[in-house]
Amino acid sequence: MQQAGTIETTLEDSGTVTLRLGGGFDMDAGCADSAAAEAMLAQGAKLLRYNADRLENWDSSLVAVLYELEKLAAAAGMPIDRSALPHRLAGLLAMAASIGNRAGDTAKICNGPISCLGAQTTEAWREMLRFLDFAGNTTLALVDLIRGRSKMRWRDFWAVLQNVSVEALPIVVLISFLVGVIIAFLGAVVLKKFGAEFAISYLIGYGILREMGAIMTGVIMAGRTGAAFAAQLGSMKVSEEIDALQTLGISPNEFLVLPRVVTLVLMMPLLTVFADLVGIFGGYLVAVSMMGVASGQFFIGLDFVAGLNDFALGLFKAMVFGVLIATSGCMKGMQCRASADAVGEAATKAVVLSITLIIFANTIIDWAAAHFNV
């Protein structure tokens, strides 16, 4: 095992700095110490020279250090004489010093916290404009479809339809059942305190029909289908399939987005009907088995408070959520950049965006419903 390499520095009166390389340089031993040489170069030397008489073996750990020193020398306008170096070492240093692409060709988005905050705010604003723009384009495509001038692919339509309906039903049913059970448990705790167990059916009726049925279906479909839409369109974007459509004069909005939006808007209310039924059933089981509410009493109570308008409100919400989920999923997919991890990113963003929009929309609809006494 040879000892670690050293770089000795001498400065002659003429201003010539000589770097004397000695021993073996090996990556496993770390890079050689170059502080002395750096200091000497800073003292206004005029020429950088090498002496490699005692140099044994070397690898990139030496080249990296010399490259840094040469950069310092070059920055000070110092000529560099590599003639004493082994042929390959000189070659590598010359190669590294030759000018390639310059960094900074692509602009950085922001520097400093304030400009970053500004950049993010304008980005959020633009994001909203893009969403509106995208929704508008999809609406126009829908209008075209209704007037019979659109080129929607019906085979796609049926494939997506199956995916967002029958294939989504098991998970929607399972989650809704559990949500019904959870609401009933909540009611059990709260209502028992007032001795008002009979009112459990009020809570379940209102809770499931007006709110939880649609919201839970929306959240499930955002995670399941919205993400899938974004990933599908995103990978099509990466493999330039969407560009291929556009160059053929086919609008990707009509061809890809429309079938997805339309199917989801049609199927969300149907899924919500199932979610409502199963959710109420879940609550009923808890009410009857754990709270001692009579079966007949439960249904009479349910019928007494919950009306068709509550059910309709849920379905209306479901349709709105359908629009939001499909639009955000497709939009994030279409905005996907051309790289592999961009697809995952698009799917994540689609889920976050659609769940946020669902909750916002739900709040607004509830406010309007209270206002108009629905």
Binding site: M27, D28, G30, C31, D59, S60, S61, V63, A64, V65, Y67, E68, R88, G91, L92, M95, A96, A97, S98, I99, G100, N101, R102, A103, G104, T106, R337, A338, S339, A340, D341, A342
Partner: protein
């Protein structure tokens, strides 16, 4: 070729996917410090051969030796040590897209050496400068052009001072100028690192420009048809297929 300067030896190699034989009876040696091209028509198994040589695929029969030591028979640990001496540049660059260029080049160094973070940064700077990408440490692979990605991938392949450099279709998807620049870069790398270079390609201009030795794979006979320098194979082709490959396209590709 004397045994001393034979770097890589392929002996009786048969490559197969399950029971489907791709190529059989491959026997050739590769000289140290030379540029060797694996050539042949599309789909003849060029990339498959390369993947056998770097251990991504296992041979159905035969073995591959580096410096006289069998890579095929080596155990997991020994193989990892041998792999450390390889640098591979994949067809699409295969830069890890979630990391910056600097992190891409640093990963092999972090994995295989005990260098400090500061030293790794220095070596990364050097490697990127070598391929003409000085100052691009903080760029994401998606922020740079295709030609730059290829060169960044070369910087990553060079990270550990490899003895053998593999290139899978280096000029695929590049314009003639970028592809010539890459050819020049490959020659510079060979001259200054002394690495043995193996290229999978079917670009004749680039074959004539940089290759010392060709291994021609024939898709019809499913075996190696010839080994020789590109000029030799063009002027005295051992078979019609080879002659057509080197001559006819050569006339088209070199109008001057």
């Amino acid at each position: 070729m004397s045994a001393a300067d034979t770097h890589i030896q392929v002996r009786g190699l048969t490559m197969a996917y399950g029971s489907r034989v791709i190529m059989q009876g491959l026997d050739f040696g590769i000289a140290r410090g030379g540029v060797t091209a694996i050539v042949g028509g599309s789909g003849c198994g060029k990339s498959t051969l390369l993947r056998h040589m770097i251990g991504l695929l296992e041979p159905a029969k035969g073995e591959i030796l580096y410096n006289g030591e069998s890579f095929t028979a080596a155990g997991t640990l020994r193989r990892a040590e041998m792999l450390r001496r390889f640098g591979v540049t994949y067809q699409q660059g295969a830069l890890w897209s979630s990391m910056t260029l600097g992190e891409n080049v640093a990963l092999p160094l972090e994995q295989y050496t005990k260098l400090s973070a500061q030293d790794i940064r220095r070596i990364v700077q050097l490697k990127l400068a070598l391929v003409g990408l000085a100052g691009f440490e903080d760029y994401a692979p998606s922020d740079i052009s295709g030609g730059m990605r290829k060169r960044a991938a070369l910087a990553r392949a060079l990270a550990l001072d490899p003895e053998v450099l593999f290139f899978d279709e280096p000029s695929a998807g590049l314009d003639p100028i970028s592809s010539r620049r890459l050819d020049e870069l490959i020659l510079q790398v060979r001259d200054s690192t002394g690495a043995t270079i193996i290229i999978v390609t079917h670009e004749l201009p680039s074959i004539y420009a940089i290759v010392d030795q060709c291994v021609f794979l024939d898709a019809e006979t499913r075996t190696m048809a010839a080994v020789g320098s590109p000029a030799e194979l063009r002027d005295n082709p051992p078979s019609d297929t080879i002659g057509r490959f080197f001559r006819r396209d050569a006339e088209e590709a070199q109008p001057a």
